[in-house]
Symmetry: C2
Subunit: 181 residues, 2 copies
DNA sequence: TTAAAACATGTAACTAATTACATGTTAAGC
DNA sequence: GCTTAACATGTAATTAGTTACATGTTTTAA
């Protein structure tokens, strides 16, 4: 369904950028819900240029380093807007290897299961801390409270969703551990 | 990383089954966290037979319908146990196309965004209802309260996780809609 | 009895994504 | 001045996953 295509169009709608910048964006909050490696990004950018959804200008960085600054064409903007309004069915299977193991908990003994769950709990707690720190920084940069027209609204929503996702996971892990006592 | 391989080994550890049965299992609660189409399952089963992790016996259903009942070998059980205890890193990017759109909310006008969010809220609420119904049925079948040694413990944990995941998503959608007033 | 839904198994073609291979420049800190 | 991290761009090979093609049997309900 070429979601990466729209991820790239959406990022370019915000700003002109290079393939490297796009890869970097996937390392931020956005990466909690979509990401791609540079080996997938560069070929996709080439494809989008052929399809005339994006265009690039070559910029020299320093002495001789050539980088390609990509931007949306009118056609690209139109396709982005079409996708963004489209109502998609909720995707059923959000793959999660830990939950797959959980389904097979009958194959573990109690200590094993507790070990696995506390370990997961620990990882999730550390992840939550990091996300909360990023949110704190984002909020500190803001003068007024964030609202619909803030340029950071999308970033803020994605971050809060990622944080609450972790909190929910953590609560479930704790309750499951309690059930195993 | 061949997670499907372990999904199949895990299912066969519970019971002998056919490829069709495995596909059916992915339509239940397990499918909330892992699934595969039959076109991926059948080749994987063949591969696992070659690797001697599973074996099958041909069974005749009715007059002449041949079906293959797969079961774990000792080698398959060993590999399953090895995987199940292994501590994996928490996977970062849990892909979610709706959250990708959310990140690009600046490209929407307010009504568009509200429309999209209420629509998603609705779908998620309907999904939650279905999951809660399945849990109610599961609990009704149980005589004693579910605990670690109940054969349905894995199923129960996965279901409660799926339900809480939806509840968290719904709460976030509602709070986000409120922010857009 | 007959039609539809469920059971059952496969392959082919294609798309999506990861890992590995491959190379070079620029900026920052010591 | 030198080293390291970050910036920057690509391709090749492989694996994972989806959609489409292809066929046949058995059970259930009208």
């Amino acid at each position: 369904m070429r979601v990466l295509k729209f991820a790239i169009l959406g990022l370019l709608e915000q700003d002109k950028m290079t393939g490297y910048d796009i890869a970097a964006a996937f390392k931020g909050a956005l990466g909690q819900f979509w990401s791609a490696k540079h080996s997938q990004i560069y070929p996709e950018l080439k494809k989008l240029v052929v399809e005339e959804l994006i265009a690039f200008e070559t910029v020299i960085q320093g002495e001789k380093l050539e980088k390609k600054l990509y931007s949306l064409t009118a056609k690209g903007t139109a396709e982005l807007m079409d996708w963004i309004q489209r109502v998609e069915a909720v995707n059923v299977s959000n793959k999660d290897e830990f939950m797959l193991k959980t389904y097979f908990i009958a194959a573990m003994d109690k200590q094993e299961a507790q070990q696995l769950f506390s370990n997961q709990l620990n990882s999730r707690q550390r992840k939550l801390e990091k996300l909360e720190q990023i949110l704190t920084e984002l909020e500190a940069e803001q003068k007024a409270p964030i609202h619909f027209s803030s340029p950071e609204f999308g970033h803020y929503l994605v971050l809060t969703r990622a944080i609450e996702r972790e909190k929910g996971y953590i609560q479930w892990l704790e309750r499951s551990l309690a059930l195993m006592e």
